[in-house]
Amino acid sequence: MLKNLLVKFLTLLISFLLVNINISTAKEKEVFETPKRLNTYGMPGTIDNPSAEAFPEGQLSVSSSIFGGTIRTNLSFQITNSVTLSFRYARIPQQSSRYRGYLWDRSFDFHYLFSKEKSIFPAVAVGLRDFIGTGFNTGEYIVMSKSLGSRINISAGMGWGRLSGKNSYNNIFGLKDRKGINSGEGGTFHYDHFFSGSNAPFFSLSYNASQKLEVIAEMSSDSYDTEVASPKGFKRESDFNLAFKYEIAQGFSLMGMLMHGNAIGLTGVLALNPRNSPYKSGIEPAPMPLLNDETISRTQSSMDSDIYIRTAELLRLDGIVLLSINRNKRFVDVEILNRYYSDVAQMIGRVTRILSKTVPLGVKFFRINIVDYKSGYPISQITVERESLRKFELMFDGPSNLWKNVKIENSPGAINQSLSLSEGPLTWSIYPDVDLALFDPDFPINGSIGWEAKLAYRIRNSTTVNSSVKQPILTALNDIKRGPKPGLPNVRSDFMYYYRDISTKPYISSLTIDHYYKPFRNIYGQINFGYLEMMYAGIRAEAIWKDMQKPYAVGIDIARINKRNTFGDFSILDKSYSTIIGTVYYDLKSNWSAQLDAGKYLAGDYGATFSLSRTFNNGWEIGAYATLTDVKFSTFGEGSFDKGITLKVPMSWFTGKKSLAYSKTVIRPIAGDGGARLHLDDNKFLHRNISKYDGKSFKDNWIRVYR
């Protein structure tokens, strides 16, 4: 009876939405963050239900919900205008669980906005919940949403799997039997069961009481069977959820909710969009204006007669180090060191502005070689025509016109040992250090805080001794309950022994001699020897071929290493391993970059890692990777194979000031031994250091050349 009523209501509702004349006239202004659109799963939706919406492209959201013993923490990303992905770590009340009555579960969601709302037609979206993982929350849905005026939004949909727990009836597609998921060790993609078995409708109604406040009611089809059966869960007394969402500040909202007539809950959402820098064009001081010839001559007559000195002084004001300057007829060749600018075009703009003021008028071209501080490589050579620089400075389309007179190529030389790359050979630092370990069911958020001392000694421009000593002061990492995984040599999954034995003692995080070489114009190489990371010591060599004009590069990374003692001292265990990994890097169009690594991994397994990143033209990167090797999923153990999410956040985005500093986080749900590699600092990988000066990097932000 109820089922029939619901079907009729749904049919009526869909018909109403389809024939309803468009009374939604409010055009949405371009927005960057919409934290109010998230549901408790971190996906477009109301409270628990999904809705046919999408976030603004690029939005990154972190949300956390708590109600009735359930906690869901979600990291969501609007990957394109239509596709939303979410990674979730959830605590689920479960009677049979061995972790204090709770199950901790990782899962991924996918949401595709099939069509946007148009005049009389509602928006339509399809979604998959928990489609990679144990399948505990697995469910699929088709949902339609329609605005009624500027304040009311109504959504109606059909759910399968977990979303058909209540008020369900026979499958509308005729797929009667829903196949059970054999999740095995979890972490794999399941698709046989999609949209099969019984289905159930769900509805949502939201009302924007004000710009900041939204009131929501929904009828949910989720039966919460497991949660209801657990004494740590809640009673499901009704199909309805009620909530209010309040946007406290741009990008931050709270939702108070009453779930199924019994559980009171709270959701917090923090959303930001890497496309929306709070500082727009940046807050750095204006660059040196360009002058006419007469003024240049007059200015130069009052400057230091040494071109190097007068140029170096002005460049220093802009944070750029001049290493050498040589005049060669109509060219001036300079070598510079960049330790500030991530917007390389802006840096080149500033260098050329200063050169145009300091070098004699007979010079017609500036040839600038960028030298890497760490390795001493001359990386890229940029040639700019002097008159074009001035001619297009204040012209409309100036940067694109100037671009036609700019040449970017690999620097021709090898590492120049005679340059002075730093004021002295020794650099040191002492700063706090934080180490986080996530996803352990015993301690879902675990970590340590202490200090890290770094000491570097530059023997030659191409050779440096680098060291890092750390000491955890407050730590819970020494009490990790889990043990190593069986089945493979323990190359990574025994990491807890290191934390346990180091505890709060100081340890050598790394101590290496790093030697860099550049035998040919397009080939860059390095050798690292010593204590490479907390768990390994040995020798590693990397070489890459990179043409600054090409969007691709290839590299090879070879390591012969031994396990270190678990106390982090100088001793080395008699367990040796090797890796040989070849890599292809490719900058795809439309702000995507791909990387394919293939070869032999630490545990002796052979396979490949595919990484894909959405790169923002301001330093942000959000990506994911997966490693599949010849290790069986069952041998790998929990998670089936190595995979993760990477997030790179540039500091300049938050400060508006020039800076090369960034923070990179790898969210690796499961540490296993299959597909394992050395854990090295990001700056130990050559491609990242070199590609920031390639043709694409200049072209992508060339409009900043006159900033």
Binding site: R275, S277, I703
Partner: protein
Amino acid sequence: MIKKILFLFCLFGLSCTSDDIIRYEKTSFYKIYKDIVVSEPTSTSSKDSMKRQGYDKAWLSRFNQPIIVLSSLNGEKTATLVALGNYKNKLTWVSADGISVSFLNGILIATRGYSQDLMESQQSDLDIIFTQNVKKRSKKYRYINGENQYIELNFNCSLLAKTNTPSVFFNLTIETTKFTEICRAGSVEHTNEYYVLPDTNIVLKSVQWISEANGSIVIYNYYAFQNNL
């Protein structure tokens, strides 16, 4: 435990490095959190904290090079700029604290050093706007967004000239023609004002819009009076 926490606090206080750039990066990093906890992110710089001062002949005579004065609309924030750039009638003025504004015939064509700079502009009738009774004109303003791409605003503007408008500069009252320019690009609109010496392109004072984030500034072209007072 308390000892450890105290030790950590001491450590935070004693954090240091021999490398200026690492120090700059770490300081900037901690400032992000400080700004969140203590106040809004800093969007102003020292150029906004300049105190109002009296502008008179004595003050002007201190400068031996051309100057202009920029002021916020309420007059509380001012900056003195000197001419540094000049190329094909385009003049660029620079302040000591790092802002620059570029003009062609007294009309703002670009800024640098603001949080949302006017990077480029394409404007019609720039050379005849004040002399040939231009009623309507168009202009394109370009800005950089957070992802280093252009944001373009296409303004349609209407101009109204009011002759015999008295304007006071120092102790002089000068008859000027006041041009009021109302521009609209979708939901974005602004009004510029130019006080021009009659029948010339010499703008003595103007109110000109930079961007949505930075609003309008008042520009006093005092260089027109230098050596003439």
